[in-house]
Symmetry: C2
Subunit: 168 residues, 2 copies
């Protein structure tokens, strides 16, 4: 289960990278600076686009670190351009590519701790289903929704990405 | 894996039911008709709130039907009030409660077909990871984002719901 979703997170981050390209093309066609989208948000007290993208990357990276024990590169959240967000997404995917199925061997029973959990812990299995996966989709979907709200022509197919189908 | 996510989908729909309550309380406090939220949307060519909620319910219901072979109640998409959306969400949860882990025994290898897939099919395992789960979170998160965009005071804890933690 873990590695199947690990690959799905890599795929979704690849789609997110494409949404950024669509946003750049939209800005070019409408003759505005694509980097104004960095601070776009759906509510004044909700994360802006830049932080939705950073968070999507971080959930993928940190859930992998917590469930496998692998070390990941530190990323300082300094992005201010779409180009820098491309680099953030691509470096996250590059890290995820270094992880293999066997790295997740003890994921279910690992003890996961978090600075905001007030001294409590979670089993890896619960953390993964209840926290990591919902958070990952929360931030990817908000990134998508902010672009969509700003006129960027992304659709459900761009969200889902390629699907494995066969003749019947 | 399937039943673990089945329970997670039930939990998320339970959270969605609570977001509807928060929306009703917000409308009451601001003295507006809560049912105007039904037609709220983030982009003119994106689904309105009502259809995001119907779609979240349908992905949960139809993925369960496709992966287990169970029969589900038909729901005609006629909701026009928040009260009716409560009923839709609750009846979906009620159906999901009738399904047990053993119903998913052959889920991975079932052949999934879809009217929009132009005669192609997908294995249950691929359909579940690539289509059902991302779509479920897409529509629940959009429902949440539309409420948030309209000033409803929901936050990440309301999105995630209760988390399984233990002392360490």
């Amino acid at each position: 289960m873990y590695y199947v979703f690990h690959k799905q997170m890599m795929k979704m981050l690849g789609q997110l990278d494409k949404w950024l390209e669509t946003a750049e093309a939209h800005a070019k066609a409408k003759n505005f600076d694509p980097n104004v989208l960095i601070d776009a948000r759906l509510a004044p007290d909700q994360f802006a686009f830049v932080r939705q993208v950073q968070s999507a990357c971080d959930v993928a990276k940190l859930s992998t670190v917590r469930l496998t024990g692998k070390e990941a590169p530190v990323q300082p959240d300094t992005e201010r351009t779409i180009e820098e967000l491309h680099a953030r997404v691509r470096s996250t995917i590059k890290f995820l590519e270094t992880v293999s199925e066997s790295d997740y061997a003890n994921a279910a029973t690992r003890l996961i701790t978090h600075p905001r959990w007030e001294g409590k812990g979670a089993h890896g299995a619960d953390y993964f289903i209840e926290h990591a996966i919902p958070n990952f989709f929360f931030h990817t979907t908000h990134a998508y929704a902010i672009l969509r709200h700003n006129g960027v022509d992304v659709g459900k197919k761009d969200y889902l990405g390629p699907q494995t189908r066969h003749n019947i």
